[in-house]
């Protein structure tokens, strides 16, 4: 069950493209005791945030809302970390 | 049949020289349907074999065949390296020191299977397998080995109307039709060189 949820606007100019997708997936994978899913609509479809191929296929652009839900022992921690990454524009350097 | 060191040397020499002499023809065939490097790659490989001729021939027949295969794997580059390498390495693994014609036939059958697996291909796909298969069938039918070179040449020519489904030629689809497969051609050349040398021995 997913006990924690958040919705974060993607403000990164280039959206959730390939490099941010890798970052998001890598970060999600660091929480072994959490299931993390993301979706572009509240009703889903929900996608495993640890699957880099599926996250890349999301093709979420700037201005889209990324819905995140997480469960498990590290669920709260994982949710906070992922939401923060999206808010930080995936630590991309803008030129 | 006893294939002594002198005969092993002659076999290596003849096969290598035949391939090297036909490098340009093979390249021409490959330019039509591949990337045009078959002749160059094969020449590089067989020049390396020729350079090691004495060292290879000093070993037993199975080990010598294996060594030829290994040299081709390392030196040919391109897909022909592992395919011809596998052919000779498997021949080496399957053939006894003093093979009868039946032993040689079974070794060729094993090599045919190994090449098929390596190339993930089969008969009818416009490859070297289209030459090995009829030669193998003829040997199993007890055909006179003297007729094999002509049979192999005909089998190589018969790849002309085939459509390639593996390798670079497969990207051409129907446009691969109408050209002899360079791998089939080089296989026929090698077989003729082997038969001629053994026939003269």
């Amino acid at each position: 069950m997913s006990e924690h949820a958040a919705s974060v606007e993607i403000t990164n100019p280039t959206g959730l493209h390939a490099r941010p997708a890798v970052k998001l997936t890598k970060l999600a994978k660091t929480f072994a005791d959490a299931t993390v899913q993301v979706a572009l609509a509240e009703g889903g479809p929900w996608i495993d945030a640890k699957s880099v191929v599926k996250i890349m296929a999301l093709k979420a652009g700037r201005g889209a809302f990324l819905h995140i839900r997480a469960g498990g022992a590290q669920g709260a921690e994982a949710l906070a970390a992922l939401a923060a990454l999206v808010r930080r524009d995936f630590d991309e350097t803008h030129v | 049949m006893h294939i002594d060191e002198a005969l092993r040397k002659r076999l290596i020499q003849t096969v290598a020289e035949t391939v090297i002499a036909h490098a340009e023809d093979l390249t021409e065939l490959d330019q039509a349907i591949g990337d045009g490097d078959h002749g160059l790659n094969m020449r590089r490989g067989f020049e390396a074999v020729l350079a090691d001729r004495d060292k290879i021939a000093a070993q037993s027949l199975p080990k010598a065949l294996h060594a030829v295969g290994m040299t081709l794997v390392m030196k040919v580059g391109g897909a022909s390296g592992p395919l011809y390498g596998t052919l000779f390495m498997q021949l080496g693994k399957s053939i006894p020191d003093e093979p009868t014609l039946a032993d040689a036939t079974e070794a060729l059958a094993a090599a045919f299977g190994a090449v098929k697996m390596r190339g993930k291909s089969d008969v009818g796909a416009k490859t070297m397998l289209d030459v090995i298969a009829p030669v193998l069938a003829a040997l199993r039918d007890g055909a006179d080995p003297r007729g094999l070179p002509a049979l192999a040449d005909a089998a190589a020519a018969a790849t002309k109307p085939m459509r390639a489904v593996r390798g670079r030629a497969s990207f051409l689809g129907d446009r691969s039709i109408g050209h002899i497969d360079p791998g089939a051609r080089s296989t026929a050349l090698i077989l003729r060189a082997i038969c001629d040398t053994l026939g003269a021995a």
Binding site: A18, R19, V22, T25, K26, K29, T30, K50, S51, V52, V53, K54, M56 | D35, D37, L40, N41, R44, V73, M74, K75, G77, G78, A79, G81, P82, L83, G85, T86, R118, G119, R166, G167, R168, S170
Partner: protein, 128 residues
């Protein structure tokens, strides 16, 4: 625990190196990575010895996943695997995936400590 290594094999050394650069920039340093490409004459091609050397450079006890481009790269990689010492042979696989995207996603998966079978399966999700 060591992460699965990634080897990139392309007919072109420029493509192989470029794909490796992308992996390093996008995924980072925690995955052993090596690449090879080109033939002995400096032209396009792949060579078994180069692939063996690349496997050695990217070697990890968790295994190595190889990403290849065109047909000969795959055939030569299969051949290289067969020539590995027996104790390594079962820990190297060729992924059926596009070389650049496959390398990035395989490395991403490997960076999280996933086993070889999972790394391969992730790369192969890219192939329909």
């Amino acid at each position: 625990m060591s992460n699965v290594g990634i080897v990139i094999v392309s007919h072109s050394p420029d493509v192989a190196k470029g794909a490796a650069d992308m992996v390093r920039q996008m995924v980072g340093e925690e995955v052993p990575l090596a690449w090879c490409g080109g033939n002995a004459d400096g032209g396009l091609g792949t060579q078994v010895q180069d692939i063996l050397d690349a496997i050695d450079r990217a070697w990890s006890e968790a295994g190595v996943a190889i990403l290849v481009d065109l047909g000969g790269a795959e055939t030569n990689s299969d051949m290289a695997i067969e020539l590995l010492p027996e104790e390594r042979r079962d820990r190297v696989v060729v992924c059926n995936a596009p070389v650049v995207e496959g390398a990035v996603v395989a490395a991403t998966e490997a960076s999280g400590g996933s086993p070889l079978a999972v790394v391969r399966a992730t790369a192969e999700e890219l192939s329909p």
